[in-house]
């Protein structure tokens, strides 16, 4: 854009890194002409937590819990992707019952994530009634997860070689009862999305991402599927028990925020059907096999269809109890690229809903941080730099007892 400082209509504004509309730190630099967005720059990297490096100094079992905490919403996605990679290297035959239980928890997680998103999307467009209703329904799933796994978030159901908790027959019956109720509610939301005039008018045509652009920018998950790309890891590269279950990858051709809403609502219905199939066809047998503490040398890449899209974990082992390298690519990193395209020629007021529509999880995304103008740093140099930086802020680590 030809930025003209003398023109009253031209403005450059920064949103973030701390901003009330987004609950996580990320920064947008916008060039505006009037209310129209002319150019946008997204900057991530405010929440780098050094998780990958942390994994190298912990054992495989400890890493499972660390990686599970990458995301509070799709925690099962990260822990499953990681254990799948480790199991592949170790050559473990995970029992079928365990694979089915992983699908069960994975789909319950997808339901709670999508219901949460529907509420947030409603909130961003001023439809708070929808937020209240979907979050009320989501609570049933949270309670169910607490009952089945022992916690509302960070379920800790996975272990290397299987799962940690079994499912009783009574629990299975309870799940079906709750799922039936939620299916009724979701049918109502789908009807609402097809009929409610304010919702359709507000979301249609907003955040357009044509199919070619979605492919070029590497969008994943519901963001890509709403642009008629029927890619779903569960279908295209089945893991756990998805190969044996009947479901379809929901897609839409609207290529806008409305399409993303339709896709997520459709995925809710598929998740209900998947859960019922799992409860009905749950195989008998053990839920875990014994895993060695030392994983033989090797490497593996594992893919998982998280609620937000494809989650990729890469693990490299060297025959010890600690992995040599763990690499995580969270789905939001793939979708962040598309934000600038979606906001082309849109108005400033569309920013919150367009950003919310990729269901961003910026804290999960940050795997690297750029210290501007310093080039590549060795581990020792980086460590020294961080100690000096904190000392300049008044925090001295020399007196702090070392904690792991």
């Amino acid at each position: 854009m030809d930025f003209d400082k003398t023109n009253d209509k031209d403005m450059q504004i920064s949103i973030g890194p701390q901003h009330p509309a987004l609950k996580e730190p990320t920064s947008f630099s916008l060039a505006l002409r009037g209310e129209k967005i002319e150019a946008i720059q997204v900057k991530i990297g405010y929440n780098h937590r050094g998780i990958e490096k942390g994994c190298e100094s912990r054992t495989y079992i400890q890493d499972m819990y660390l990686l599970e905490r990458i995301c509070g919403i799709c925690s099962h996605a990260h822990s499953t992707a990681y254990v799948q990679a480790v199991e592949t290297i170790a050559g473990l035959q995970v029992p079928r019952r365990a694979l089915y239980l992983r699908v069960l928890i994975g789909e319950l997680e997808r339901i709670h994530s999508h219901l949460l998103w529907l509420g947030v999307a409603g909130h961003e467009i001023g439809f708070d009634t929808l937020l209240m209703y979907t979050w009320r329904d989501r609570e049933a799933i949270m309670d169910l997860l607490a009952e089945l796994t022992g916690n509302r978030v960070n379920y800790g159901i996975n272990t290397i070689g299987g799962v940690r908790r079994d499912l009783t027959k009574e629990e299975g019956e309870r799940i079906v009862k709750i799922i039936d109720h939620l299916a009724e509610q979701t049918k109502y939301y789908i009807q609402l999305a097809q009929e409610e005039v304010t919702l359709i008018q507000r979301l249609s045509g907003v955040g357009k991402l044509p199919r070619e652009d979605a492919l070029r920018l590497g969008a994943v998950g519901p963001t890509a599927r709403a642009s008629s790309i029927t890619f779903d890891v569960r279908k295209d590269d089945p893991y756990a028990a998805y190969g044996e279950l009947d479901f379809k990858a929901v897609s839409a051709d609207q290529a806008d925020v409305y399409g993303r809403t339709i896709v997520r609502l459709g995925e809710l219905m598929e998740a209900y059907s998947l859960i019922k199939q799992v409860v009905k066809n749950l195989p008998d047998g053990p839920i875990a096999v014994r895993a060695p503490r030392k994983i033989p040398a090797g490497e593996a890449l594992s893919r998982y269809e998280a609620p937000r899209g494809e989650d990729v974990h890469y693990v490299k082992s060297n025959g010890t109890e600690n992995p040599e390298r763990v690499k995580v690519r969270a789905p939001t990193l793939a979708n962040t690229q598309a934000i600038a395209k979606m906001l082309e020629d849109r108005y400033l007021a569309d920013l919150p809903i367009v950003v919310a529509a990729i269901d961003p999880c910026f804290s999960c995304t940050d795997r690297a941080i750029e210290v501007e103008g310093r080039g590549l740093m060795s581990w020792e140099k980086l460590r020294r730099y961080s100690i000096d930086w904190y000392r300049a802020q008044g925090v001295d680590f020399r007196n702090v007892k070392r904690v792991i």
């Binding site: 912990r58 054992t59 079992i61 400890q62 819990y65 660390l66 905490r69 009634t129 929808l130 209703y133 009320r136 609570e139 309670d143 607490a146 009952e147 022992g150 916690n151 960070n154 800790g156 272990t159 940690r164 908790r165 109502y188 009807q191 609402l192 097809q194 009929e195 409610e196 005039v197 304010t198 359709i200 008018q201 904690v403 792991i404």
Partner: protein, 133 residues
């Protein structure tokens, strides 16, 4: 399609009005108790008489929250920092002798960090710093 948009403006109104007369979906916590499910992962419990001092729990703890101390012959005590504990329950899984158990007690907030350190002594009962719900 465009015509269909205007069929039901305010499609949610029926549900909104119905909900007005229903009881709240929320619980009046902490004025009313909020029981957790039976297998909820809350505070740990330690049975010193079963402990053999293998230290597997210490080794597997992701946050280094547990410390097992040897007091004498086959006598051990556990020092746990509830502020560090992430309530994953891995130590319970790792324990070969079932000396560790998990309780659904989740009301563990304290005003001082010191009070989050709990020592389960060899006599089998937690000392005075333990907070029973």
């Amino acid at each position: 399609m465009a015509k269909k948009f205007f069929i039901r403006p305010g499609a949610m109104i029926a549900l909104v009005l119905k909900t007005l007369f229903q009881k709240p979906a929320t619980v009046d916590y902490p004025n009313k108790p909020l029981p957790m499910p039976e297998h909820f992962r809350g505070k740990l419990d330690f049975m010193p008489e079963k402990c053999i001092g293998c230290l597997l729990c210490m080794k597997d703890c992701p946050t280094d929250a547990i410390e097992i101390k040897k007091l004498g012959d086959k006598k051990f005590e556990m020092d746990i920092d509830l502020g560090k504990c992430i309530y994953c329950g891995q130590c319970v899984d790792s324990c070969l002798k079932k000396a560790l158990a998990i309780t659904p007690n989740f009301e563990l907030a304290q005003f001082s960090h010191d009070k989050l350190r709990v020592v389960f002594n060899a006599a089998g009962s937690p000392d005075g710093t333990d907070q029973k719900a």
